[in-house]
Symmetry: C2
Subunit: 476 residues, 2 copies
């Protein structure tokens, strides 16, 4: 492969952005595509996505959703039906004007999101209260033209899931919105080992067309926030634009209340930046393509056989295990698998084998441990769980050490330079703009678990809004 040589990456402390860009390429997660801003997801990166998909999909199904597939191309006129929606997305659209050798009568938009085409469809599928709730998800690619693209974080095309549901009333739709925010919070914590903060967006950060937008915010190791999943209560905005109505039990025609929610390949960027270090990726075990890599030491057929057997046994025990049989030095292999973030490495040499032991090294941890071969495989799932817990604890400690409740503007500026500030805010968009211009920080969300509190705005001294503190940070 082109860049197999030179496994080192720029240290985070020197240039976090260079660290990220180099790591994505050198760990073979993704590659640049011929069209600017697009991305090739390489097998190692795509496997992370597959594992995340499986975790999400199983939770979507367990909460009553089914998958479907809606078209990539949307008539331009559809977008115009919801005024805020078209205004928000127009600058990012890719447009098909010719097809089958002819100019199209109406240009087609490549979907940036699917509320419009799904809204039109739901208006045909829903007629009675018996049809509700309608709970559908789709796995798809979407296109949003990006001026400052970055692999995984902002690419012109990305992969995601988008849930679209229709309900009889606001209560049911809001419950769905919060349920799926909860699913995202759980997957971030229990699968990606990222302790995200869920909360509502302020109006300036709302999805174009939503009544309320909620997000989960993750802290990266440079202290910035990364929005990692969103859940929107759309009210009757799209139902009115697309005439999604139903007859209630008493025969009255009503508009549905709809929701939408999505998580994307951006989450892979979150995993890279929430956990990675100067040696490379640190993958949470539940998303690691290989959870365990066995490195045979020395050229010894018996060792090779034992290594293969160990990996076979591990796979039979449900562990994603791999034997590195490449013609390279152990040192090269250790560095390579550290770069690739494999949670556990098992070294097996002739002396280990003779002693009935192996050496186990955790990617996140100090030093190596000599472990009896007997019982090693049986203990792997518990070791991997311990890796997950240690990673989540480290990320939580890091986040808490960089996050503070601040009550003065000086504290605020210091805090958001490399972390998160919980502050009271007046809720005025103009004041948010001033804060952004001064510090680069924006309101990430109004954390759901924040205690009731009020007082003066951190910036303009006007009375605070929202009844709670707002989380501010510089964001990706």
């Amino acid at each position: 492969m082109a860049d197999r040589k030179g496994l080192g990456v720029t240290p985070q402390g020197e240039d976090f952005s260079a660290w990220y860009n180099e790591l994505v390429l050198k760990a073979e997660l993704a590659d640049r595509a011929p069209v600017k801003g697009a991305m090739i997801i390489r097998p190692y990166g795509y496997r992370i996505w597959e594992l995340l998909q499986a975790e999400l999909d199983q939770r979507f199904k367990a909460t009553g959703h089914v998958n479907a597939y809606f078209p990539l191309f949307i008539p331009m006129s559809y977008l115009a039906k919801e005024a805020a929606h078209v205004e928000g997305f127009s600058p990012e659209l890719a447009v098909v004007t010719h097809a089958g050798g002819e100019e199209l009568e109406e240009p087609l938009v490549v979907r940036p999101t699917s509320e419009t085409v799904i809204g039109e469809t739901y208006s045909r599928w829903i007629s009675s209260w018996r049809d509700l709730p309608l709970l559908i998800n789709q796995w798809a690619n979407v296109v949003r033209w990006e001026l400052r693209p970055r692999l995984f974080l902002r690419t012109t095309e990305f992969l995601w899931q988008e849930g679209h549901t229709a309900h009889a009333d606001e209560d049911d739709a809001m419950a769905e919105t919060m349920r799926m925010l909860g699913v995202y919070t759980e997957v971030a914590r229990d699968v990606a080992a990222i302790p995200v903060v869920p909360g509502e967006k302020t109006p300036g950060e709302r999805f174009a067309g939503a009544v309320a937008t909620f997000s989960i915010e993750a802290m990266m190791r440079d202290g910035r926030a990364l929005q990692s999943g969103t859940s929107h209560y759309l009210g009757t905005n799209f139902a009115q634009a697309f005439d999604i109505t139903f007859q209630d039990a008493s025969g009255v025609l009503r508009h549905c209340h709809t929701t939408s929610w999505g998580m994307s390949t951006r989450m892979i960027g979150a995993v890279i930046m929430a956990h990675g270090d100067d040696k490379g990726l640190v993958l949470p075990p539940r998303l690691a393509p290989y959870q365990v890599v066995v490195v045979p030491i020395g050229k010894d057929p018996e060792v090779d056989q034992a290594a293969a057997r160990l990996a076979d046994d591990a796979r039979a025990a449900g562990v994603r295990a791999h034997v590195d049989t490449r013609d390279a030095t152990p040192g090269f292999k250790f560095n390579d698998w550290e770069l690739k973030g494999v949670p556990l490495r098992i070294e097996l040499g002739p002396r280990d084998l003779a002693a009935g032991t192996a050496v186990v090294a955790a990617r996140l941890g100090s030093g190596k441990e000599t472990v009896p071969l007997e019982g090693l495989v049986a203990g792997l799932p518990a070791r991997l769980d311990a890796c997950h817990d240690a990673l989540l604890a480290r990320a939580t400690d890091f986040r808490d050490s960089r996050r503070a409740r601040v009550d003065t503007w000086d504290e605020f500026k210091t805090r958001v330079a490399d972390g998160w500030a919980d502050a009271l805010h007046c809720g005025q968009p103009a004041c948010e703009d001033v804060i952004k211009a001064d510090t680069g920080a924006t309101p990430r969300c109004i954390p759901s678990d924040g205690p009731a509190e009020s007082g003066q705005c951190i910036r303009c001294d006007a009375p605070s809004a929202w009844g709670r503190r707002v989380l501010f940070a510089k964001a990706y």
Copy 2:
């Protein structure tokens, strides 16, 4: 839902095409989209696709492939690099000319297939013989502008997988081409219960840019053939166009030999038309969203509980089971699940429950069977296997009854009117054209298992080509 009333469909014998179009809509497999020729895959149809995906994906991984994702948009200039390829695909392209509010410098093609963008990528990823073989698959949507669209069979956008592999030499690439044709044959037979005929395409039916194209051909219940999967040996055509080279072990720079292979949502059309009857779908159990539907008879809480328990137990035993608790008559439910092709129906009423029995009805079969509740669930997997075997046997008998070796032009014409003809052919494209003009039949493939044979062309009396008979049929 819009068309829940009126479950009947036009009989196949009256109008097969109307039967198909009505059934796809009434069984809620798919719906028409706002853009002509596009398709909405509804949850019931998408679940079939998910099950097929899982079966294929597991076999791809077992044969050493990994998944990745390549971009939707391809620079127009890429397609032009392989002359036959651009000629073949040009009439079907959708083109993005504007994005981000501006006209693009170079128009972008929405991928009709990905040989070009993947070829360019492989040229960067491959440098040494150690990088070979490179075995990658992607799950993606593709766009081919269709003038005569039909749901699942020919839609402007469809879902598929496309495998793209690179090898050191022809032998290895041909072995891959045939291995994947074998995977498709196996999945068609063992999963979809369709006894396909694998074979090589004649040059006129080759993929644009391939050296050799192989397909699996399935017989529909009107006697027509449906190409259900293809595997291409691309020689060094794309390697030369995109400079995919490697240094062999002796240091010599060589072109790779590449392959590509794909199966798409078209396979759902094959399942519908290979098995369906005048009552609706007949789904092969391994692709059925619900393998068993339990219909409680009468409004009896005890029956409802027993039905729920039965379905729970079945699910615990790995069977996809569903209880129909809708407020509708048993007769309506029976018709509905027959329309939807569910392999097994279990009826449970108060009298059955008192007697410790249930009534089991197979979708494909005659009459009902009274079965003790004790042991019913444990026996479901074997019953479903029997459904699969019966379906495959029926499809095989049907195919064999409509397929014949023919040696005269009159026989040929009679046979291809509603079936398949194995005939000797001269191999001349002009002669193929005459046959098509006269009968509507085209060469589907040169069956791989055909015995060596030669003689005179069925149509023009010139000496036969290929050393074997060619399978002719009218095709979708």
